[in-house]
Amino acid sequence: MFKLKEIIFSVTSRCNLKCMMCDIPSSRNGELSTGILRSALEDAAALGAGTAVFSGGEPLLRGDIFELVAFCKKLGLGACVTSNGFLVDDITAGKLADAGVDVVNISVEGDRQTHERLRGAGTYEKALHALRCLRGRGVETTIASTVSRYNYNSLEHIVELAKDTGATTLKFQPFSRIFVSPGRNCSEFLLGDVEAKAVMDILRRIHALCGHYGVSVNPLPYLESIPAYLSSGIGGNASSCRSLFSSCPVDASGKVFPCWVLSGKEMMIGDITHTPLKDIWGTAKHHDIIGRINRRNCGGCLMSCYDANFSPAAFSPASGSSILRKTARSASGPALRKLARKIAFYLSYRGSPLRLLRRWLPVKHRRSREENGTLKKASEEIRKAEETLERELRDPR
């Protein structure tokens, strides 16, 4: 079964920041043209994908990012943009909203001091401003955070931040080697055994706090694997990773890999600059590479984009999202299909439908109240105008 669920583009390797835990900008991987990205999106939609993720580098450095998002919406794909938030002001937020982006993911690493130590001076205020502007424009926002030795002490601050800025979801992910240049010494980011224990407590508290605030967060089993991963490198989901079959990472130069972690040359499935995506996905070569990975048992990772693997229900055949996806395929009306896709998209990102409901209900109430407010005001004005006219008719001046 090769049903593409999600296509993830690194749309550029350029970035306006130079963060301590990331060497992507120095890789100078080039950039795909708008045309290639558009045709890849078309192919992805034809292959049944539900979501496109635009990552980087900093995707907002591309002038055509709004066009790409709008194009996703035209194809019926959910669109998610990950950004450091530095370039998001009210105008950009408005443009993203107008393009129809579903989710914007902003990186925050902790409190101001921690965040700016990792990402550079002035970045904290900008990230917060981005979150507020986007919420102001009605765009759903999520916060991503890389857990490392530098910031574990201020992770709880991020939950409060999510609550204050109206971000719906927190995505934690341990520091990973794959974002730094080969050969760099990374021990500064890793944890000792004592620290690992403290981090475990912090992450459990965060999970509970998120439940209390109604903010979505990675599944608990996932969070609980982070300390061990950062202290000893063990962890991750070695055998039953479904991401190999459902997500399609494309790097900034157009190379398609089975997943972000296994992006060695021998693992390359194809290159969308030469071959259309539809001729890359699900080919014999693709099957072969995935078979090889499964036989050799991949070492496992803790990439948060694949954290749904940690919640066993998310991919079991009877789960809500797969049923919905099936409905999406079989439903005849395009509107129903669109709705089902939207729900499937939300479920794939948010997990429990109950939580989803809880978050939606007050919003719906608020909306209908607003609408009632407008109509009520209009009725009130009509009443007053009627009175004025009737009074004038009764006793004309």
Binding site: D98, L375, S379, E381, I382, A385, T388, L389, P396
Partner: protein, 393 residues
Amino acid sequence: MDCVKEFKRNLAYHFSEVLDYPFARPKWVYISLSHKCTYACRMCGVVNILQGYELPGETVCRAVDEIASWEWGSTVVLTGGEPFLRKDIFGIITHAVASGVNTEAVSNGSLIDEDMAARIVSSGLKNIAVSLDGAVAGTHDYFRGKGAFAAALRAVENLAAAKKKQGKGPQISVWSTIMKENIPELSRMPALTASAGAECFVLHPVIVAQDDMQRTGSNAPFWPGNKEVGVLREQIEILSTPSGGCGIAVFLHEPRLWEDYFSGHLDKRQWKCNPFVFINIGPDGEIRSCGESFGNIKDAGITGALFTREAAAARKRMKRCGKPCLQTCWAHPDADSLPGMTGKLVKQSSGMPERAAMLRECLAELREYKNILKKGSVSDSAINNVEQKIKGG
């Protein structure tokens, strides 16, 4: 009876917005005949988009006929590119004027020599606007190209001379875009244009970020910074005095809003767009109100396009827009407040002979909308009723 007509139209605009249903017809219809232009101005990008498109004369005439059939008092503004580049421009104007629609044109003045001025003045246009973006040649020519300043002033002079000779003609206006570079000169422009013969001087701010139309934006070189906004404040003060405005400077809204607009503090409460007031028809025939197009005049005509789902979506986007652009074409403050409209009607009608009948007529119309509002949705025969009545009015 004019005040009844006005009240009814404003009611239609008001409830179009409240109920999001096009009871009203656009007051302004801008038609871009083609994007070809004699200049390539720095602050305008239209020459770069939709190149090679040109609305055929008969299509324009058909659109004008449709606008005339609304009997709504709408105004057609012929624009471009440079509309006077077209060979058939006077054919189009003649047709529009004959159909009874208010017709106006916008030009950069580069083609208006004495002959052309005489033809424009006798064509029946209600208004001819010439763009001028500075009080000295250096500034204007910086935006528009060498010689443009002299050409624009000569165009205004030619038009004024022709109007004087023929004894009647269109209002001669000068339109000016407020940009960083010309702010210090704004207060000198009314005197300059008045001496050339202009009868009306209108200012409008450069647009925030209309990417597909113009290359300007808040980070663009033409956007005034804090220092220039301070200068703008002084200039507005001078322009607001009778001597500073020379009797021809016209503010289409409170000029202080410009300061908030340029410094990014203008919010929705200060400036309200009514999505039903304005539409623009591009050289490809696509119909827009703001942002994406929602129909083509070659398909279902203008009225048909107003009722599409795309049009409703575009209006919704306009309602959500949090960055008011201060382009006056979208605003219709007269229809914002129902008590205000009623008060105006009461005042205007006082002392008229058939006042009771007029007020009763207006009250009946108001009640029609009340009934629709009560039902909460707009999908009823009552709508047809209202629409017919509006058309009758």
